[in-house]
């Protein structure tokens, strides 16, 4: 047989050709590689959530290898001395084993928990970005709804995860969950007994929550995340207005190589921050909480931060129950309003907000350009109203800790929360609205009169005025007529090229400021070594 000499250099080409002959991927692959993404820091916030989710999957799989989701009573006999000989459920015992008897188990547990907090925190931050820039407008309403759903799926993923170790804190949380179910009118007791498999706590809730936590909810999350990203891909990312940017184009970088590489680096950074926090800060020390007993509780019992707003609303709710004197009597407990009605409203209202806004403004156009928060004061003010509501509710979820550590009366904290919840959001609305108008006004002023130069001139009549540098040729009144485009207006002289460019570098200068004498008449020396129109130097 004649052996052909293998040409190493030709292998990739041949493999690629072979793949394309079979799969016909060349065209779609190229359009993927070439996809253009706009670049702005706020567009990276959603990625934090995506990358945290990957960390959650990785660490979560590890944890399932050791976790035993069973409520069977066992006697602990592991390394942790302070619980040895204590009766507890197998779920709690195996969580202790992960923490103390599996090499590196505690770091995995802590990474999983920190990643969960990070996942939810970045979802919320990302949501704020999308809201305040109007990125949810047509054609992206569906993706907004998916995003809100992702938050609530994350909420349930977090709550089930918080519950399954079966420690003292998670049992308290489950008890409250059961009370929330019980508070539903008519179906309450049926709902609770169906989910718990009988009276609280029963023997089924941990295995059921486990399967929800590791299979059902992650599957839904995966599907929703895939749909979320797919829509971002097919609809193409929104972009800020600015020179050369229109509603019909995307200005940015092609996905490969630079953009994708940045994403890869950012993933590692997110992963790194989570790992670092997991080592630096202890989270959820279940060994101190002990096994769940219906008779034991701790002061300062709180849920994780993303559930805290609901707990806060429950705490602030006055004791208003509706008693219905028919037959033996029926009751709608106070719990129902914050944990049932209000939670429903807080889920539905954000989802329908794009439709509400479109209806109110009569706006049916397609928007691929973002709006700066200041350019839509009603929306921005509404958003701040919602955020202030959320923050007050969240702080109230830990109001006992605040009361204790800052020496405030607990009852006073509750009243502050009750009043604050009603009073602060309208104030936030009004203040935000005024700030937005003020910022807009300043932009318009610069467009009309020019940039403040810092040069004070004394007029012959003795008045002092500041000299403004107009951004275009002014008319006879000294006004320039530039269109307000909703994008950054230069407000310092160096932004219009009249002075040396701002010093480069994030924290520290990476180059010496230009030494050439600069004046408004002489544009600065360009520090770049050489400029090519479009280079192909590689």
């Amino acid at each position: 047989m004649k052996r052909r000499k293998l040409d190493i250099g030709a292998v990739p080409g041949n493999v690629a050709r072979g793949a394309d002959e079979r799969l016909q991927v060349a065209t779609p692959l190229r359009s993927l590689l070439n996809k253009v993404f706009p670049d702005h820091w706020s567009f990276l916030l959603g990625e934090i959530a995506l990358f945290s989710f990957v960390v959650l999957l990785l660490t979560g799989v590890f944890l399932t290898l050791f976790f035993d989701p069973s409520m069977k009573e066992v006697v602990y006999d592991g390394s942790y001395t302070a619980l040895r000989g204590t009766e507890m459920s197998a779920a709690y015992a195996s969580t202790l084993d992960i923490s103390f008897d599996v090499r590196g188990g505690l770091i995995m547990r802590q990474m999983h928990h920190w990643a969960a907090l990070m996942f939810m925190a970045s979802i919320v931050i990302h949501m704020f970005r999308v809201f305040f820039t109007g990125a949810f407008r047509k054609p992206r309403e569906t993706n907004w709804v998916i995003g809100v759903t992702l938050f609530f799926m994350g909420f349930f993923a977090g709550f089930t995860g918080y519950s399954i170790p079966d420690d003292g804190l998670s049992g308290t949380g489950l008890r409250i969950a059961s009370a929330i179910m019980l508070s539903m009118p008519v179906i309450g007791s049926w709902l609770s007994s169906s989910i718990f498999g009988g009276e609280f706590p029963g023997m089924l809730i941990i295995p059921r929550f486990f399967i929800a936590h590791v299979l059902i909810i992650p599957a839904v999350l995966l599907g929703l995340i895939a749909a979320h990203l797919g829509l971002v891909f097919s609809q193409k990312h929104t972009q800020w207005p600015g020179p050369g940017r229109t509603n019909e184009n995307v200005v940015g970088e092609r996905m490969f190589p630079r953009y994708a590489m940045k994403q890869g680096g950012f993933f590692m950074a997110v992963f790194g921050v989570i790992a670092f926090m997991a080592g630096a800060f202890q989270i959820n020390p279940i060994w101190l909480f002990g096994p769940y007993r219906a008779s034991e509780v701790s002061s300062a019992s709180q849920p994780d931060w993303y559930v805290m707003f609901m707990d806060g609303l429950v705490r602030l709710m006055p004791a208003w129950a509706i008693e219905i004197p028919i037959g033996d009597g029926y009751v709608i407990p106070p719990m129902f309003w914050p944990a049932g009605v209000l939670l429903g409203v807080l889920a539905v209202l954000p989802m329908t907000y794009p439709a509400i806004e479109a209806r109110l403004t009569g706006d049916k156009k397609i928007h691929n350009l973002l709006e700066r928060p200041r350019d839509n004061p009603p929306r921005t003010a509404l958003g701040m109203m919602a955020i202030s509501f959320f923050i007050i509710a969240t702080i109230s979820g830990g109001n006992d800790v605040v009361a204790d550590k800052f020496h405030i009366s607990l009852n006073a904290m509750t009243w502050v929360g009750r009043i604050g919840l009603l009073v602060v959001p309208p104030i936030a609305y009004w203040v935000t609205y005024r700030i937005c108008l003020g910022l807009q006004q300043h932009d318009r002023e610069v467009l009309a009169h020019g940039v403040e130069t810092g040069i004070i001139r004394r007029l012959p009549d003795g008045r002092f005025i500041e000299v403004h540098q107009p951004l275009a040729a002014p008319d006879e009144h000294g006004h320039t007529h530039l269109e307000y485009t909703g994008w950054v207006v230069p407000k310092k002289m160096n932004r219009v090229g009249a002075l040396a460019p701002a010093i480069k570098g994030f924290f520290f200068p990476i180059e010496k400021p230009s030494e050439a004498p600069v004046s408004p008449g002489h544009p600065p020396v360009d520090p770049a070594a050489k400029r090519e129109e479009v280079g192909s130097s590689h």
Partner: protein, 289 residues
Amino acid sequence: MTSHSPASRGAGRGGGLRARWRRGRNSPPSKLRRRAGAAVRLVAALMLAGGVYTFLAPSVQAQEDVALSTAAQQGKEIFDNSCITCHGRNAQGIEGRGPSLIGVGSASVEFQVESGRMPMVRQEAQAERKAPMFNAEDTQKLAAYIQELGGGPQIPSGPLTHDMDADPEALSRGGELFRLNCTSCHGFGGGGGALSSGKFAPSLTDVSERDIYAAMLSGPQNMPVFGDNQLTPDQKRDIITYITGQLQDGGDPGGFNLGRFGPITEGLAIFLVGITALVFTCLWIAGKS
């Protein structure tokens, strides 16, 4: 041994009175002044009455003097200097100012005085822990006085914790009891917690063994009493072993414990550390330079 607080308080009050008096002289007699005058007369009358009573009933005191040991006798002197204002003669208590100390026992005195809660600076929702005013010796004398006066629970002599080597199970027994009886107010991590209307359960992170024992025994302020029939001295030692061995000195295997306040500080950390760090990273990634 003289106490600073009553003296300084007296000086402050005197200054206030003098100031008010001076104001009064410059202005025509006011309603306020008339009322102040009435108060002064009332106080004078009360003092006179008290003096007469003391003069007329010296025998009660004399009898007790005989029964007291030397230490208790010295304790009584301290008491008469620093505590009598609120707790009254012979620790009988004064309605509206301070409770009777008959029957509270030396455990209570040790706890309150050693932790600086007594003497109180002013009446408030709850006495705060502060630097103690009396040294250990004087505290013992005071305790002896109250003990001999009315009896009551005492901290036993001997060690207040179990030896972990001889009895390693004590730790988990103590943990079990701690979670059933103590965590509801002091928290799983022993960091303390809020009670109603400005009252609170103090943190246990730097409390001494004796203080914990005395507190359980005497139920200071709003803390329920855990008498020896409810929690035997042995069980109390279990709990103290857990608090000092595990909560105070047990360390945190997972890194900095964020104050053991629970999810609220964890939520704060994820925003202040995690999200902040990553938003700065975002700014840098997308930055032009």
